[in-house]
Structures are given as structure tokens and as C-alpha cells.
């Protein structure tokens, strides 16, 4: 099954979400994950489904916002998303660049139904 490291990470997501929800029922969790990180949507979902029952986030929908890798060319400054095995700048062909995006790994927001609301 999934890479092991998503379990502690998913536990951490649940901890943060519980903290922010302050007792409210959580209906949605929006996660932002850069493609340069090793975190896999399916693995987080897999562990979430196992550990969420019995918590305020039971049944919450996970929304994964993937952020593609963006390079800024070190020669000409062009910003581009590299292909799988081809990191050449589309403008000047220089390989790679400074990483502008792709390292994101955070919870953007949660949707909650406040206490006293209908289930």
C-alpha cells in the first residue's frame, strides 16, 4: 500500500484541523500539495479514512489542490513548468532553474458546521 510517511502526516493534518475546528463538525479539508513533495493524495486519503472516524472530521471531504513545479530559468528568467524528463527552458534551452513552486504542503482552509448546527 501507500508510502509509510503519509500516516504521521495525516495524523498531523487531523490534529491541526481539530485544533482549528474548535469542536465544530468538519465537512471539508482543503490541502495544497506541491508536485516536488513526495506526498501522494491517495495515500493521505487512505490513512484519513482510517483515522478520521470518531473525530470531528469524520466523513469530511478531502480536497487536493496540486501545485505543479515551476522553474525560473537562471539564464533568461523565463518561468516554466518542466516536463517529466526534460527540464530545458522553452526560451533558451538552459536546463532547470530556481524552484518557484512545487514545495507547498499546507492546509489552506476547512469547511465546518458550527456547534449546534444540524448534522
Amino acid at each position: 500500500m501507500a508510502a509509510m510517511h503519509e500516516l504521521p502526516v495525516t495524523q498531523e493534518i487531523l490534529r491541526i484541523v481539530t485544533d482549528y475546528a474548535q469542536g465544530a463538525r468538519v465537512t471539508e479539508i482543503v490541502l495544497v500539495i506541491g508536485d516536488l513533495t513526495s506526498f501522494i493524495d491517495e495515500a493521505i486519503q487512505f490513512y484519513f479514512d482510517q483515522i478520521a472516524p470518531g473525530t470531528v472530521a469524520e466523513g469530511a471531504r478531502l480536497v487536493f489542490k496540486r501545485v505543479p513545479i515551476r522553474f525560473r530559468c537562471r539564464s533568461c528568467g523565463t518561468e516554466f513548468t518542466p516536463r517529466q524528463r526534460d527540464w530545458r527552458c522553452p526560451t533558451c534551452q538552459t536546463q532547470g532553474g530556481e524552484v518557484l513552486a512545487g514545495k507547498e504542503f499546507y492546509i489552506e482552509s476547512i469547511g465546518v458546521i458550527p456547534q449546534g448546527g444540524k448534522n
Binding site: 491541526i16 499546507y106 492546509i107
Partner: protein, 240 residues
């Protein structure tokens, strides 16, 4: 009164059943990062320079560590944290050198994290250590996401693994302070294009030096020792 249908419900009570959005914008690894900062402060207070060594299983981390210990132990006070999923084998090999070593077994977990290193630090004689090696769990993917509080991060890539690995595992090569190609004694037998590998690492990370060595023959080990000597007692500011 409800303006819409006149049902007698106050609108406020209707609205509470609608989901409310709460902005969070919290890094999921914040707790680990905070623990890593504590480790960093703790290590600094003891004048220790810590090196986090990351590589695939079998890339030669322990072999290089043993060669390094052999070369340095008479003039530099060393310490080792060995990360492994289950066994004690590597720690036992290091222990035979007489250098203080602590084994962390992650219980199957694929990387070390900062709280694990924190606990390991308690088991080491910190006042007797100048240079601390943290051998991470063999894995090119996960360890890079977890700051341990080290000063420098080093990635090893062995010749048999192939020169295209930065394409598959860009995050680690982008993040480290030093890249070492190990097992260069095998270069005559394998299609590992050193310049291609160097170009891919440079594409991500122009600042990290790239060293080539064989812990088996000793070739190139001196450049690694020189790199270490230049950093001993010089913790890197803000290294994550």
C-alpha cells in the same frame, strides 16, 4: 420572521447549518519544524555541527561513515545517530569503532523526524561531540521533507543507481548542501555518465558541490574529509 417563506424561523438559525469556511494556511510539518529548531538550538549550545546523510538503501552511507570515522576519530570528537527501520546492524558496526552511537528504529517508518532525533540526542554525550553524523533511513524520497535540526544535508547517490535519478527524485537534489557520487570504483563497468548526472543536479541546485569517491578504494575520500573539516565548528545559518 424568515423573509423568504415566512415560516417563523429566524434566518440566523437556518444559516448555522451551512458550512463555514475557516482559513487555516498552516504548514502540515510545522510541528516537526518546531522540534527541529529546538534540536538545532540544542546542538548549537553544545558546539556541535550536525550532518544529515540521506541516500537510497545500499548507496554506501554506512560504508562512507565507517571510512570517515577511521580517518577522523583520532583528531575530531565524533558522534553518530543511526536511523533504520528495524535492525541494529549499522549501529553495531559503528559501535566497534568506539565512537558514541545511538540507534533509532523507526518501526518501519521511512524517514527520521525531529522528535526522534531529539530523543536520540538525550542518549548521546553531547559535551564530548564536535561533529555529529545522522544517518537517515535508506530512502531518496521521504527524508528530505523532514528537517531534523541539522546544519548540513548531504545526498549520496551510488553509481549503480544510475545517472538519471535527479529526474525521479528532484526534491532531495534540490535541497541538499552537498552531493556525493559513491562507488566510483564501479564506473568502468557501468553506464553512469558523471557529467550528465552533474548537469541534472546543477539544473536544480547550482550551489551544492558534487564530490566523487569510493569508500572501498579510498579514492576521493580526502575531498569529503576536507569538506567536513571546513564546516566543523561552523554551523550553517538557517539550514533546513
Amino acid at each position: 420572521m424568515c423573509d423568504t417563506c415566512g415560516c417563523g424561523e429566524r434566518t440566523g438559525e437556518v444559516q448555522v447549518t451551512l458550512p463555514t469556511r475557516i482559513p487555516v494556511v498552516e504548514k502540515i510539518l510545522n510541528a516537526n519544524d518546531a522540534a527541529a529548531e529546538e534540536n538545532r538550538d540544542h546542538l548549537r549550545a553544545h558546539g556541535i555541527t550536525a550532518i544529515n546523510i540521506m541516500a537510497s538503501p545500499g548507496a554506501g552511507k554506512t560504508q562512507l561513515l565507517l571510512a570517515t570515522i577511521e580517518a577522523l576519530k583520532d583528531r575530531v570528537r565524533l558522534g553518530v545517530i543511526e536511523g533504520d527501520t528495524a535492525s541494529q546492524i549499522d549501529a553495531e558496526r559503528v559501535a566497534t569503532t568506539g565512537v558514541p552511537v545511538v540507534q533509532i528504529n523507526t518501526g518501519g517508518g521511512c524517514h527520521l523526524d525531529a522528535p526522534m532525533v531529539h530523543r536520540a540526542l538525550h542518549a548521546l554525550p553531547l559535551d564530548e561531540i564536535e561533529l555529529l553524523f545522522i544517518e537517515n533511513v535508506g530512502n531518496l524520497i521521504c527524508p528530505v521533507a523532514f528537517d531534523l535540526g541539522q546544519d548540513y544535508r548531504v545526498a549520496l547517490l551510488s553509481v549503480p543507481e544510475g545517472d538519471d535519478k535527479p529526474y525521479k527524485y528532484p526534491a532531495i537534489f534540490e535541497a541538499v548542501d552537498l552531493v556525493i557520487i559513491t562507488k566510483i570504483d564501479l564506473l568502468p563497468y557501468l553506464d553512469f555518465d558523471v557529467s550528465r548526472f552533474e548537469a541534472l543536479v546543477r539544473a536544480l541546485n547550482p550551489r551544492a558541490p558534487i564530490l566523487k569517491l569510493s569508500a572501498k578504494t579510498g579514492e576521493g575520500v580526502a575531498s569529503w574529509l576536507a569538506w567536513l573539516e571546513a564546516r566543523r565548528g561552523h554551523p550553517q545559518e538557517g539550514s533546513h
